[in-house]
Assembly symmetry: C2
Homo-oligomer: 174 residues x 2
DNA sequence: GTCTTATATATGTATAGTCTTATACAGTCA
DNA sequence: TGACTGTATAAGACTATACATATATAAGAC
């Protein structure tokens, strides 16, 4: 359950409402972690019942109260423990490769089509990430920012690897 | 729910019991799809109630009956439809990158340690995949086999990309 | 004037997957 | 002889996530 820690990590940077969190997540970690709105609210509630976050209710008129969540010292400890704990074993789930593995059944044109649509996706992912990297010029050079930029570079490296693999694979179709 | 189609795809190659499936999956698609034993049996039962597979019970002595599952024509149609359907949007979930994003909190040694343990994993993934590719020499050159080998190449490309990214990232730590 | 977007939270339901435990016998290794 | 591994199936409990829907108002677009 990394969403729990992703949220704790964001709350550590700054207190957030569920609504804010959704936007912050979309603007920062969305390239490697997607989060559903309802899941965010439920996880936030869980953090509060576990004492890892606390809420300040700010009344508004015409809108529901803002429920601003702040990380607690217990929460900070939990975040640090998670960050220092060993990586759990991976359980890969790549639906695209399942298709590649079995799509031979449909013949070459269908296989080529599948690879082409993947190419389109990888292409647009690559330009999205490249644009984001461009926006980060001028940010601080401290460790935290360097690591955040590194996650973007990771996406770029893998998008490039995917494109190279697609070229090689299309070229080698019998 | 790609497991459903992964199983249908395997059943299309040859009828399987749940037990066999677990082993076939481990030996063929495990590098991009992991499947829990209980999940395999449940999915198999679902395929049968949906008419996508049928069972032949083979009595044994000293062991539970073998329940051999075979794909039906309805199942084959469902598999083909899935293979031809558009790729659903991706919802990325990479717990490792969540850590990288927030691990700055713990300082440079912890960040370097995280990256190093990832390096070990990527290294062993790479040698595992390379060994598998070696074993596939001499297989047929038809479309289906080419695509199956391509999934291994995909894993290799991404493992290499991950290693290159790790080097670059470790070198750039402030 | 109506339609869409933004603000803000919350629940119900379905789907997918993991972990754990249960049952039962045969063969192998020490 | 006792422990471990392999063959074979199954269900319960739990975790994580996604999808849909509900509520209520304001602001801006067309």
């Amino acid at each position: 359950m990394s969403l729990k820690y992703a949220i704790l990590g964001v709350l550590k940077l700054k207190p957030h409402t569920g609504y804010d969190l959704k936007k912050t997540i979309e603007a920062s970690v969305a390239h490697f972690w997607s989060a559903d709105q309802s899941q965010i609210y439920r996880t936030l509630a869980l953090l509060v019942t576990d004492g890892l976050a606390e809420v300040e209710v700010i009344a508004q008129d015409g809108r529901p109260d803002r429920r601003v969540h702040r990380i607690t010292t217990t929460g900070l400890t939990a975040l640090r423990e998670w960050l220092a704990s060993p990586l759990p074993p991976e359980t890969p789930h790549d639906a695209f490769l399942v298709r590649v593995f079995f799509v031979g059944e449909l013949g070459i044109p269908a296989a080529a089509g599948l690879l082409q649509s993947r190419r389109d996706e990888a292409d647009s992912a690559l330009s999205r990430l490249t644009a984001l990297v461009g926006q980060e010029r001028g940010e601080p050079v401290d460790l935290a920012h360097a690591l955040r930029r590194a996650t973007l570079r990771n996406g770029i490296r893998h998008a490039e690897a995917e494109l190279a693999w697609l070229d090689e694979t299309v070229a080698a179709l019998p």
